[in-house]
Symmetry: C2
Subunit: 222 residues, 2 copies
Amino acid sequence: MTFKRYIPVESISELTINRLSIYLRCLQQLEKENITTISSQELAERFHLNSAQIRKDLAYFGEFGIRGVGYNAAQLREHLVNILGLSEERRVVVVGAGNLGTALSHFSGFNSGGFKIVAVCDADPQKIGKRIPGGLTVEDAALLPTLVKERRIHIGVITVPAAAAQQVFDDLVNAGIQAILNFAPAQLKGHPEVKLKNVDLKINLELLSFFLTHAARLASIT
Amino acid sequence: MTFKRYIPVESISELTINRLSIYLRCLQQLEKENITTISSQELAERFHLNSAQIRKDLAYFGEFGIRGVGYNAAQLREHLVNILGLSEERRVVVVGAGNLGTALSHFSGFNSGGFKIVAVCDADPQKIGKRIPGGLTVEDAALLPTLVKERRIHIGVITVPAAAAQQVFDDLVNAGIQAILNFAPAQLKGHPEVKLKNVDLKINLELLSFFLTHAARLASIT
DNA sequence: CCGTGTGAAGCTGTTCACAGCT
DNA sequence: AGCTGTGAACAGCTTCACACGG
């Protein structure tokens, strides 16, 4: 939690933050292999990243390395956990108990490393009351404001159909949620004070389709 | 399929391609509302995009608009479908019949608009033979080369744990697959001739966590 | 006269290359 | 001697603003 400079968050790119998550994964793996010290160079080669970029990304938040030596893996991991705010538990509500919503509710990636799905809602009376693998029961989306308050929920995940997404987005914001992950293929509008991240899974398939159509041989850029 | 210029695909950014998918969604919605003609300005305002960017993105592929008027919605949609290669059916194999893999296999977004999951594999004998909602049965991952050939599969989706991902990636490539969507949190290496797109769902939660931690009030940038 | 298509400008993100610290 | 941290150069992406065509 000791950052060298208190740079305004808005000045740090989302790309940088995403890379911090990746660095964190890499460090976790290195620790499993009992590696204690690593240079940006080695880290870059091992996980095919760019060493200058690693150093620059980290430099936004402090001086974590030792010149002439490199970084202490455990220490750097700890710093990244703090920067990303993963030391504190984040309770999540999933709205939309369809296929995807149900799957994400018991997806290990969404129930580990600081995150925990504590509620799954739907507006469809047919779905309310249904048990979900993992132990949760689908609750009435109309109860969102209560749920958010009582279970101190920080993050909302939207997995309803596109047509219902804007309404759910508004409801989540009105219920007091500050950060929302939207899986619906809809252009949501209207709450600049809330952090909204759109993830459209189908876009990725369409991207691949584009490359299959236009490129016989093509370098992999990810 | 009549593109003004045959620009090398590599010169077009992934960002542009992703936006084309978004424009396609928007046009589909407009058609539902029986709107036949739309200007880049209107399109931008309606879906909070940038009008100059819309025009520039489209201009890579041809001149689809009418000066002084705008674009014909149906025509432009058709162009986008062709550009993205969505008129041809794309058969998909999902490797990893865990939570996420199973969910994606019957996820509507992965079984519509030109895409169709035609096989789900796993190496775990416990999972092989299990039925999946939607009609598929989990098959042995060892049969990948045969499956890919017989069902003429174009796209592979990796939903195995991180530790197994590199092996599956290699196997998919060796089986002759040209485009791969990887959901495992692993830095895959080694096949520059194949198009690889990484999607890490947890990164998105971590991004939200970062903003919750550092920003009390913050503009939504997506 | 209006909106597209597009050079040019401006901005953001990445990579280079080296000074400075250990 | 070696690697970090960082200004400066470079590359890529977005936005502006207007000439041109309908």
